[in-house]
Amino acid sequence: MANIATQRIKREFKEVVKSEEVARCAIRIDLVNDSWSELRGEIAGPPDTPYEGGVFALEILVPETYPFNPPKVRFLTKIWHPNISSVTGAICLDILKDQWAAAMTLRTVLLSLQALLAAAEPDDPQDAVVARQYKEYHNIFKTTAQHWTAIYAGGPNRIGEYETRVTRLVDMGVDELTARAVLSANNWDLERATETIFS
């Protein structure tokens, strides 16, 4: 990797480790290998959101041209959010694309992602299904996001009723992840989910 990129990542790594957010366990960063080109990030779900209590892992790939081009970031933990793909974890956030600025750091990126969890932009979605639910059935969206946080990110608000429906589909021979995703996309309507899967 180009010298300036490695130099800067090392400095930023120290900055994150020293930051007060780490002290509050709000963000964390770890090395994946010795090359400094791949890092593992972690953000805590912000309070007063459906993601509260969850911890979300992120894959951070640092390009050779960093910091002149943004790092490539994606969620490794599955998450139900209008601006994050529920399938791939890809993130739709302007500062990771054309609004990137060279003075931004890993710390500010992680904090921006945390802010994105607290303030979704359903009009500029990455996951159209989630975005539609967010706009049309906001309460279902909230409980679904809570449920996903509990299942995949260690959150506290597991919704028993939802899980029973997942189990029903699993009993029919459907893969658990697929069952949960399809039920979520169909506003937890078991009949419609079954139709979607078996039609």
Binding site: A2, I4, Q7, R8, R11, E12, T65, P67, F68, N69, A101, A102, A103, M104, T105
Partner: protein, 202 residues
Amino acid sequence: MASSSSTASTEEASTSQPEKKEETKQKKEDDGEESDKESDEKMFECNICLDTAKDAVVSYCGHLFCWPCLYQWLETRPNRQSCPVCKAAISRDKCIPLYGRGGSGKDPRSKIPPRPPPTRTEQTDNGRFSWGSNEGNGGFHMSFGIGAFPFGFFASAFNFGAPGTAPAGANFMTPQQIEEQEFLSKVFIWVALIFIVWLMLA
């Protein structure tokens, strides 16, 4: 704390404790000075490489950069040049060089900073040369590792080889330089045409 009637060993321990305290106090003071120094140095860190700014320039919006770093940032986004910190409009002419005591006093912007070497291989007939008149000291600037280029350029101009194509490595040139180059190559072609017409008529 051990009482006054304690055994020798605890006395020893109690006397050594205040010393330790002093030591830690001393250490804390040192740390304080160090962190002061650190924060002072941080004041003069480039906002891009996070190192102490070399060939420092400051934008109109007040943000400090190394000129090589800022140059590369501006080159990365030639059409949308904005301050990496606050996104205010920024350009080569909208920043001020900083001269500390003991510096060379030369305008850091007058030199194009060293850039990473290109990874592409050069085509033999695709000439390239850098016209440096707007760099403040007249004369020619040869871009990084492309020594024989002026001749290649003349050759391609007189060969009428693809006059309109964008020159290779144009991403390393400022828009003015590209414009100048296109203008020059057109001039050369017209001179050549006029010369040929004159030869035929004479």
